[in-house]
């Protein structure tokens, strides 16, 4: 990218209210905005800055703040700068707007976030389950779902204790059993 493009991009982005821009490096631009302003930002980027490619939508569960962070990674084939737009959505009702009408690929990512985090997107074409169709527990990617506990409750382990191992154990050797605390997920 050249600096003129970068300048014009910066000018363009200032049109959005309350936007905070951070240049992480030459090709990465971080934009923190409020959740309400995001559709406007995306429409602006797609319409006027050539950001036609939605690379991904990531969701982060900030359980201590009781918020979901949604990150929209956008790429322009012209300016070659990747913009990551960060927004925060309250965890409790867990509802946000779909950007499917701006970016078609959003449908898959929103569907994925819905089944993994339970965050509902209004206006998304398909909110049915895709991966976890036969799963009836809580959304597993939430921080309050303890995967390991679920495994311990539902499965048993193969007890492999052959004679040669018993012999070694009699001589004082053997498999070092790790303490359960180290297995526990934090």
């Amino acid at each position: 990218m050249n600096s003129a493009q970068s300048q014009s991009l910066n000018v363009l982005l200032q049109e959005i209210e309350g936007i905070q821009l951070t240049h992480q490096n030459q090709r990465r631009l971080r934009a923190d905005i409020s959740a309400d302003a995001l559709p406007a930002l995306l429409a602006l980027l797609r319409g006027r800055a050539g950001y036609v490619h939605l690379s991904a939508i990531s969701c982060v569960d900030w359980i201590e703040d009781d918020q979901f962070e949604l990150v929209y990674h956008l790429w322009s084939y012209e300016t070659s700068i990747l913009i990551s737009a960060h927004i925060r959505v309250a965890r409790d009702p867990g509802i946000y707007l779909s950007v499917f009408d701006i970016y078609t690929p959003a449908a898959f990512f929103e569907r994925d976030i819905h089944e993994m985090f339970g965050l509902y997107f209004e206006g998304s074409p398909d909110m049915s389950k895709f991966i976890l169709t036969e799963w009836d527990g809580p959304p597993p990617m939430r921080k309050d779902f303890d995967s390991e506990q679920w495994v311990m409750d539902n499965f048993t382990w193969q007890d492999y204790h052959p004679d040669w191992l018993k012999q070694i154990e009699q001589q004082g050797g053997g498999v070092v059993k790790s303490a359960d605390s180290s297995r526990k997920s934090s």
């Binding site: 990531s58 990150v71 084939y77 690929p105 898959f108 995967s147």
Partner: protein
Amino acid sequence: MRPENYQAVNHPPSHEYELNFGPNHPGIEGNYALKVKLQGDIVIEARADGGYLHRGFEKLMENRLWIQNIALVPRICVPDPVPMEVCYSLAVEDLDDIKVPERAQWLRVLQLELSRIAAHLFTFGGHAATTGMYTPMYWGVTDRDLILDLFEELTGGRVYSIYNLPGGVRQDMPEGFLQRVTQTMDYIDGRLKDYDNLFFTNQIFIRRSKGVGVINQQQALEWGVTGPNLRACGLAFDVRRDDSYLIYDQLDFDIPTEDAGDAWARTLVRRMELVESIRIVRQVVQALPDIKGPVRTPIPNPLAWRVKAGDSYTRVESSKGELAYYIVSNGEEKPYRVHIRGPSSMHAVQVLEKLSVGCRLEDVAQTMFSLDACPPEVDR
């Protein structure tokens, strides 16, 4: 989407029926399912059904140390695991500001490109097999094995190498390795002529695959198509060049494109990329002896390693398309959140569903294989 020689027939709706492709079906790549509704021979509705390969990687990675995750990441894409390791390492290096020695970067590129060659050989073998031609599959998989032998020599593992760590690569290459790389490249270069005669100039194959699953450039950008599938629509975009990582900006390679955007063009683009990858490997082989230095920047005690807080979105070009990791660290021993953007997650779900509609029953499998969709990436 329809072959040129197709003429529409209006069947009464009672001729509609449903057919399941997968999860255990030779016309499906891996463990994946596509439910199609057909009218006669024409697909009128298609619905992808995934999750058969779901392991909850993103959850697992939150529960393991930064260094433990290196063993986990290559499993995400089985046919092409190396970009997964490199991308994860790049992301962690970006977070923790680790500088990678130059020699390690070249070694990574060497391994990445060898992996790309292996993946492409595997893919067009698979594409040929869906049209009933098994000989290219037998040849392709066998030639791929020679590259796996190189991996084994370099890293100790045939498929999953676990060779890239944050900070560099695990060890330097063995004595005489570059010579054997050159030999293998020469062999594969020579074999390409056989493949052309058997496969890429095969008139029946061209007739089968031309006009199947057409994506035009507009649709490709709209649907988020990446990688070779995007280049088959005429857009010369490659993360290696346009969002350059490692030392790709020092290398001389072309980005092959095709305009047709159909199954044939996609396979042809892969064929041309094979040549480019061989070219890159040869350049690396030439340059590597002159680049001295360590292959790894030491990292702190890995069992108590706390990566600096922050987030990083890192992309690499895998053989399937744009692969990205979004990693969030809150300064703990384990990642706070890892999001994997598998290149196939677009191709195997939305694009495949759209392309299948209007497609013949004969061409459903071909469409999927020509998109080079990799189900474990979708399911994670």
